[in-house]
């Protein structure tokens, strides 16, 4: 699985008359794990839809690896970009989880190995023969995510992947995304779930009113309450605890916070 670099060059986009993106330039090297934050209506989802040719820029260029997205159709971009919609469970239609997860690979003519790996990663092996709509809604969301992971894309785009998931589901998505990034896959996540962003992203791009307002390492931004406040966000619990206790190294992930707490003594309740 090799990742692809993503490049936005002066991209402008408008819905009808109103321009939503006013010249966005971004360079995401292959394998980078990026999160996009910003208030609603800032153009986050619009930006990601340009990556898979669902939208055409009014000006500027979007490239994935050596492909200029403007020259491709969405079903062609699907060979390189795995796009998971926020309400992705609405795309399920096969009679079993296994068959639905295999739909993408079948369309692309890719081997079924990716299907079994995706089912494994998201804890769906036990329900492979169950009808997706006989599962509760959060599990359907995992099935839809598995359906995109199974295509083994070089780029992953996730729109609010953790909304409605329970603790176990979130941990599975975190592990799956980390494993893919480690294998060189580039990932772009749009999410309000700062804890999830802290656990998975290395870099955060803040989009406000259609322009890139900030582009910083995740550690710097997510431990800066003042920077997050205007976005209606707060630092994740791990970062908040680190700040409250003045822990060294500005931890933002759970395991980082645990490490920084090494040797601390706790009072009984």
């Amino acid at each position: 699985m090799s990742g692809h670099a993503i490049r936005f060059e002066g991209v402008r986009f408008a819905y009808g008359g109103t321009e939503v993106l006013h010249g966005v330039t971004l360079d995401l090297p292959a394998g980078s794990a990026v999160a996009i934050l910003g208030p609603n209506g800032a153009g986050k989802t619009t930006l990601t839809r340009l990556l898979i040719a669902l939208l055409r820029p009014r000006a500027g260029r979007v490239t994935v690896g050596d492909w200029d997205v403007a020259t491709k159709r969405p079903d062609e971009m699907a060979r390189r970009v795995g796009y998971v919609f926020q309400h992705a469970d609405q795309q399920l239609f096969e009679r079993t989880v296994q068959r639905d997860v295999a739909f993408g690979p079948r369309c692309l003519g890719r081997p079924a190995a990716g299907v079994d790996r995706a089912l494994e990663e998201l804890g769906l092996v036990a329900v492979a023969d169950v009808h997706p709509y006989d599962l509760p809604p959060p599990s359907r969301k995992l099935v839809a995510l598995a359906g995109v992971l199974a295509m083994e894309p070089g780029v992953l785009v996730l729109d609010e992947p953790t909304a409605g998931l329970d603790r176990v589901g979130r941990d599975l998505v975190v592990a799956a995304l980390r494993r893919r990034n480690a294998a060189g896959v580039t990932s772009v996540v749009v999410s309000h779930d700062v804890a999830f962003v802290a656990e998975t992203a290395e870099r955060v791009v803040v989009l406000r009113e259609g322009v890139v307002a900030a582009d910083a390492p995740v550690r710097k931004l997510l431990s800066d309450a003042a920077a997050l406040a205007p976005l209606g966000l707060e630092p994740p619990p791990a970062a908040a605890l680190g700040l409250a206790l003045g822990l060294p190294g500005a931890p933002i992930r759970v395991e980082e916070c645990v490490a920084a707490l090494g040797g601390v003594r706790w009072r009984g309740a």
Binding site: H192, P237, W266
Partner: protein, 253 residues
């Protein structure tokens, strides 16, 4: 104080499903309290809400075993997706909130009074003349709750009400629940969002595979907020602190 809802050894299975969704659950829900229900996906939290509210099996079908005593017919329910809960018959928030009381055939003045009180309590009075379809998810969900509170239910049941909302909308919604309970209603809210549940619940019921495994104050039942997981991994003895403030108190400087 007799409980508003009492379940004794209740089991429940959905139609066409061999695996029971609830097994041998006994619990009492008191008026004027916020009761949280949590559990992994498929543990039965949503089912417990539907059974406690009297909606299952009446509207969902399925088989109920054991004894359920529901001391009221005035029950409201709120789901995760605001848009599916709109009646679609009103072009203003005021009209949407009025639908419930108007359906009961109450006189016009009583309906308008109930609407004024509900939109005031939910902080959506400034949206009264707005078209519901133009509101944000957070505003819309508060309008949905207002449209149910306008019928003055004795029991308000919420199934992961903030799943579709951004953090600000979610915080605003959960902050309302204690005030709804303070007015005498029983509030029953199911969610995996233990961070917010810990802030507002007087009591939490933890379910695993359809069984009630723990119940009590949030601190004694919940142990999977991020702070709790950090504290446990860092050697903190039970009961685990659930939020930053509680953790800071427990650290010996």
């Amino acid at each position: 104080m007799t409980a508003l809802v009492t379940l004794e050894r209740v089991g429940f299975s959905y139609p066409g499903s061999a695996r029971p969704a609830l097994r041998d659950v006994s619990v009492a829900i008191e008026a004027g309290t916020v009761t949280g229900v949590t559990g992994l996906v498929g543990a039965g939290a949503s089912t417990l809400l539907l059974v406690a509210g009297g909606f299952a099996p009446r509207l969902t079908g399925g088989a109920l075993t054991g004894a359920r005593h529901l001391a009221t017919e005035r029950v409201g329910i709120v789901f995760a997706t605001p848009w599916t809960q709109l009646t679609g018959l009103a072009s203003t928030v005021l009209g949407e909130v009025a639908f419930g009381p108007a359906s009961l055939g109450r006189p016009r003045e009583a309906v308008l009074a109930a609407v004024e009180r509900a939109i005031g309590d939910l902080g959506v009075a400034h949206l009264a003349e707005r078209d519901p379809t133009t509101l944000s998810g957070g505003e819309l969900q508060r309008v949905v709750v207002a449209s149910i509170l306008a019928m003055v239910p004795d029991l308000l049941v919420l199934d992961d009400p903030a799943a579709e909302l951004d953090p600000a909308g979610a915080d605003a919604l959960y902050a309302l629940l204690p005030s709804v309970a303070a007015r005498g209603a029983a509030v029953l809210v199911a969610t995996p969002d233990t961070e917010r549940l810990a802030r507002v619940a007087d009591r939490v019921l933890a379910l695993e595979d359809g069984r009630l495994v723990r119940s009590g104050p949030p601190g004694a039942v919940l142990d999977d907020t991020d702070v709790a997981r950090i504290a446990r991994a860092a050697g903190c003895p039970a009961p685990l602190p659930l939020d930053v403030a509680a953790a800071v108190e427990r650290v010996v400087r």
